[in-house]
Amino acid sequence: MLQLRRTLALLKGETGNQLARTGSSLPFLDSANNSSGLVLQSQSTDVYQNLALEDWIDAHVDLQQRGILLLWRNQPAVVIGRHQNPWSECNLPAMRKMGIALARRRSGGGTVFHDHGNLNLTFFASKKAYDRKRNLKVVTEALRRLRPNLDVRATDRFDILLNGHYKISGTASRLSRKSSYHHCTLLHSADRSALSTVLRPSCPGILSNATPSVPSPVANLIDHAPSLAWEELLEALVQQYNTEFGLSSVFTLVDPSSECVFPGVGNISTELRSWDWTFGRTPKFRVETLLELRDEHLPARCSAQLQMEVKGGQVESCRLDVPAGWLPLWLSRQLSDVLVGERFCPHRAAAAVTAMLRAEKGQFHSRLNNLCEAVLAMMG
């Protein structure tokens, strides 16, 4: 309860006097508001809860007079930018196998991999005070103080590079009514093998105007500074945040799932978890690819050409050009028709084609099955 009241009070920017009345004693709260900052650390490692917390703070907390720094990390997850295409950015089947979540954030930018070895920093500020360069200076200066021989530099794209070559941090931001947030990743000790496995396209042949990622070679901080501990890093960042912005910050842990402290945050995380947001918000795209067809009775392989338009994550049109001798035209047309209106999703598509496969008991069953499998595999 004390933690709860304290967090509420801090978000409201209450002074020490008011808190004394409620019974909490927080001597480190500065009564002169201008020099008091707020640093929050999320207790959750659920990517949707943490993203929801960001949006909640942006919408509900007055950021005109002072900013907030939020520190957070997630269980393994791939996070795509607001206007990206998950099928072209990440390996959805591999992620399903590895239990890695997919989230679409509300800020722009490219795709990143989060896990316990990756630290996320969110700098909340008014629109006027929005300054990514200054925020990244907090990170680079903190790192330089910790390990003076580390070559870390922010680029024009607001990446942070180690030794001028390895990306250790990427940036994205969102501007809303009156406020802004700029968040960035920081690779301390992430699983690089998992990262490279999942940051690959699921589906070949995608034509789209969705914002693309710029792939970069990455490195972990511990690869070049093996003794750098997580806690040490966090402490240095908080200290540098205070130095850079001339603040004496209050630090507090927050539970992003708390409806008491953050009323309505549950609705935000529910929306972020939804298929409609994660996949349905994908900009309209086209798939043009060749499907490899196999038949155990034929020595030669052949291929079918697939052209699909996907809007709002659903198949809007589908055209399958299958060699005439391999499968009758009416069957491949029927398959196309069945797919139209379905989600661009192997599970949904499988359910849709099941009835069709069951009905086709004749000589074309196994070929039709093969074609269906090829289509489903293409969907990720």
Partner: protein
């Protein structure tokens, strides 16, 4: 701080909070003369229908001859954004209340939310922007329009700024 106190007395629904937070004193009323002219305009001449009205979020709306509102962002906004690389726009048929978020423009600077200047239904979205998002920068008042919507509550236009008032508003925030 007042905004937060306001929050405490409201329900915990996220979507209900936003419009209330920003409605307090942020929209300036149009002079009486413009109000009277507007009512005549819809029925008769198109002399004033090309006039732009602006929100404090730098969106503009232009009432066309058929009573549909064309919506875009101002020159001030497009300059502040930098090169637009993607326009996230709503589906035709979307119902919007005044000040609802209706999409976002992504630029090198950030993803910037877009807020509906009026209450109405989206009837058309600028399909040119899919391949040429830069039109928003190059021609923000003409070819770079974002969407068209019905005007369910014409009185809302009175609460928006005319060009002169908007110019004054920009000057005041630049200081």
């Amino acid at each position: 701080m007042a905004a937060y106190a306001l929050l405490r007395s409201m329900s915990s629904s996220f979507s209900s909070v936003l419009p209330l937070l920003s409605r307090s004193g942020s929209l300036s009323p149009a002079p009486l003369a413009v109000k009277t002219l507007f009512r005549r305009t819809l029925a008769s001449s198109s002399r004033f229908s090309a006039a732009l009205k602006f929100t404090d979020k730098h969106e503009w709306v232009r009432v066309e001859d058929d009573g549909i509102g064309t919506v875009g962002i101002s020159n001030f906004a497009q300059e502040a954004l930098g090169d637009v690389v993607y326009c996230g726009l709503p589906e035709v048929g979307t119902q919007l209340a005044q000040q609802d978020e209706f999409g976002a423009l992504e630029s090198v600077k950030a993803a910037s939310e877009l807020y509906s200047p009026l209450t109405g239904e989206v009837v058309e979205v600028n399909s040119l922007l899919a391949d040429k998002p830069g039109l928003v920068n190059k021609s923000c008042y003409k070819d770079g329009w974002l969407m068209k919507m019905t005007i369910a509550k014409p009185a809302e236009l009175d609460s928006l700024m005319d060009e002169a008032a908007y110019e004054r508003y920009i000057r005041s925030i630049e200081d």
